[in-house]
Symmetry: C2
Subunit: 444 residues, 2 copies
């Protein structure tokens, strides 16, 4: 008699895929819940039962809701256990998580992680370990929460040439800017309100200063352009300097302000390509689809040569949405273990260099209070021309002896635009630089 072929086993009869989870906060508790409640469904989809065999938390006694026999405070020991096939990491931060995940990958244990900060800095190292042992490394939850974004970039668009990824990838800053737009209030006041309502962390630095978005931009740029881009390569400006005047100026022009992560393939005149990755506030037309993305939602545009323009929209954070992305990855890992096969590996063959921000082409909106007399426009226009910056639109409006002057430029190197603004600010005829902001999207 021939032995039963493994293929003929039903999913429930197969050896389970054994999961160790590191961290059990908002996301982890949802992952644990879904692994239990959806056990039958997950087994059917993964091809084998997916079983939680251990959970490492800092204080096991603080988790009476979890089975005591699963809990440990020793993450390193849990990762090293022989009966662990997959490590799900939801702790966050670089150390000591980095060493835990390297240990897992080196031992051939696949990793599912939502750790954007770690990936944005050490993905090359993690991918090397994954490659050497054949273990999978999945991280859909690290960018844009529940939105399936990384798998489409890595797999669906694998045959296309992506030229641009641009989107709202941080819910806290989007909430604050939406609220400032709606109420006309200033930044500090709105941040306080957001903290009070739980939309901003007690220490909001990672969000409002753009660190979180910059990590995500690094991950997106790496995947989109098959190159290694780390968080340090990303030009980063947060929203702390966005004023009520900026939003008012935007409103006058039929625009609003969003904090965007922008990753572009830039082709120089000689045909050489580079990557630009940046995070900063941007004025976009109110008619732009990103303008309508409110509250804590995320939305990301992807442009590719053949596919054209694509948009992905959904919840960018939160326990259940992030858990959905983690479980999708977990099912993929389990399927690979049951059926054989590998998840996507690092794809950095293009190895494009990162373009410094100063050389990245951008467009500026500049709103000025100027003296209301002849020759002012000529002086301002001359400053732009002197830096080789071409003007796309000008709007002037007089009020008593001050006039307001709004200039929107064509594309120019960011450094040239910055120098122009610095020079204009020093002109005698310029009373006040009301607002300076980069613009994206068609003019209204």
């Amino acid at each position: 008699m021939s032995p039963v072929s493994p293929k003929s086993l039903s999913p429930a009869d197969r050896a389970p895929i054994r999961v160790a989870m590191l961290g059990c906060g908002t996301v982890g508790s949802e992952v644990a819940r879904l692994l239990t409640e959806q056990a039958g469904e997950l087994a059917a989809r993964a091809g084998a039962p997916v079983e939680l065999v251990g959970i490492a938390v800092r204080r096991p006694d603080k988790h009476p809701e979890l089975p005591a026999e699963l809990l440990t405070d020793d993450a390193a020991a849990l990762v090293a256990r022989d009966d662990v096939d997959v490590v799900v990491e939801l702790v966050g931060g670089i150390d000591p998580v980095r060493s835990w995940l390297l240990t897992a990958l080196n031992a051939g244990k696949s990793v599912v992680t939502a750790n954007k900060a770690l990936l944005a800095e050490y993905s090359a190292e993690l991918f090397e370990a994954s490659d050497a042992s054949g273990a999978d490394l999945y991280f859909e939850a690290a960018v844009a929460g529940a939105i399936p974004l990384l798998r489409p970039l890595r797999e669906s668009l694998a045959g296309d040439r992506i030229t641009r990824v641009m989107g709202i990838v941080n819910g806290t800053t989007n909430y604050i800017l939406s609220a400032m737009d709606a109420t006309g209030a200033g930044y500090a006041e709105t941040l306080d309100e957001a903290s009070r309502l739980g939309y901003a962390e007690a220490d909001p630095t990672a969000d409002v200063d753009g660190y979180d978005a910059a990590s995500k931009a690094a991950i997106l740029a790496s995947l989109a352009f098959h190159s290694r881009v780390t968080a340090k390569d990303v030009h980063r400006e947060g929203i702390a300097d966005v004023t009520a005047s900026d939003l008012a100026a935007a409103r006058t022009l039929g625009r609003t302000v969003k904090l965007l992560a922008i990753c572009e393939r830039v082709t120089a005149d000689d045909g050489t390509e580079s990557v630009s990755a940046r995070v900063h506030p941007v004025m976009i037309p109110r008619s732009h689809q990103l303008a309508g993305v409110g509250g804590a939602f995320n939305a990301v545009y992807v442009e590719a040569d053949a596919a054209g323009e694509l948009m992905f929209y959904g919840q960018g954070a939160g326990g259940a949405p992030t858990a959905s992305a983690v479980l999708g990855d977990l099912v993929a890992v389990a399927r690979n273990q049951v059926l054989g096969g590998r998840g996507p590996r690092e794809s950095a063959h293009a190895a494009l260099p990162v373009r410094p921000m100063g050389q990245t082409p951008t467009r500026y909106h500049v709103s000025l209070d100027v003296a209301d007399r002849a020759g002012v426009l000529a002086q301002v226009a001359q400053a732009f021309a002197a830096h080789g910056v071409s003007i796309a639109a000008v709007r002037q409006r007089d009020a008593n002896d001050t006039a307001s002057l709004v200039v929107v430029t064509h594309l120019a190197p960011d450094a040239a635009l910055q120098s122009t603004v610095d020079e204009i600010a020093k002109l005698d005829v310029v009373h006040d630089v009301v607002s300076v902001m980069r613009v994206e999207g068609e003019d209204a």
Copy 2:
């Protein structure tokens, strides 16, 4: 000396993945172009060169742009060739394509296809052949063109419970309805104009009667609910009966009309689940994101228990966009062949039954011209009540001796709503049924 491990080979040195393409129209010529122009990139991403070894077309002499040595008019012979690893099918229709693809899959050759009609009817048969031989079956291009939608449904959301998929999946009908909305013109006139401009086929039946969208709905429902849903299971109404009055009525209510494919998980009072899949014109609020999707674009909403609401947007048709989806699948097939492993298989374990349209809960908008006298509203309201249909909103407006009466209902079984409308149409006090249409989305 140990032999060189296959892993240490560079992609360019590996044995190529040999592709036979069936059909070479708008999409095929883009696929052929990209396979040539992006050969180096594709090899790097796939892990081996991807090489076009044959193209079957009806009339080889009509394709002077393609290398003559690749062309054949014998698709069956091409599929059977020993030097073919993957078959890309872009012919469309059921026969004889079905037998070609079964031959390929039975011989262990993976298939990438954009053939929605075939998949909507025979996917079970194709998956069985794929399963038996271990060949892959990919079909991202069959629904929503360039938009990565099927891979997220099959893989990213594999750990979640999808409750609803709803979207615009046919560009021709969306173009016509957008134009009717913008111009106020009637259906026949707008269709003529669309044909003249190339937005509608010479024979537009498959689009305007909803067959194309129904095939896509069957594919989406099967994947979303892990059940077998065929095109025959999909309730289908096209746009030929949508009138300028319907669009005018919608406009009065701050709504517009779209042809939507709607796939829902319906839970009965006793907890049993079923699947509803339908394609019909729908009134949606202008503030709804789908209302802003114009021209030939597609957009699909997905709702899942943990992920919440997701939206995918992009070009639903056209040579290059569809080719992008085909190439993504081709890279996936090639990677599986190089690294070992399998693409997703059929997932029909839930085996939910399909709910007949009559039992599917929907909401109706009914716009009537009625006699302007006392008691009319009571009679109309009584007709709804008699069928157990609860009214959500009523708007009445008088003009001379006729009044216009608009009723929007709460959810009720579609058959009950249909009977109510039939009965109302027969009332003496009802002069004309101006517009009857299902509604989705929040009330304006």
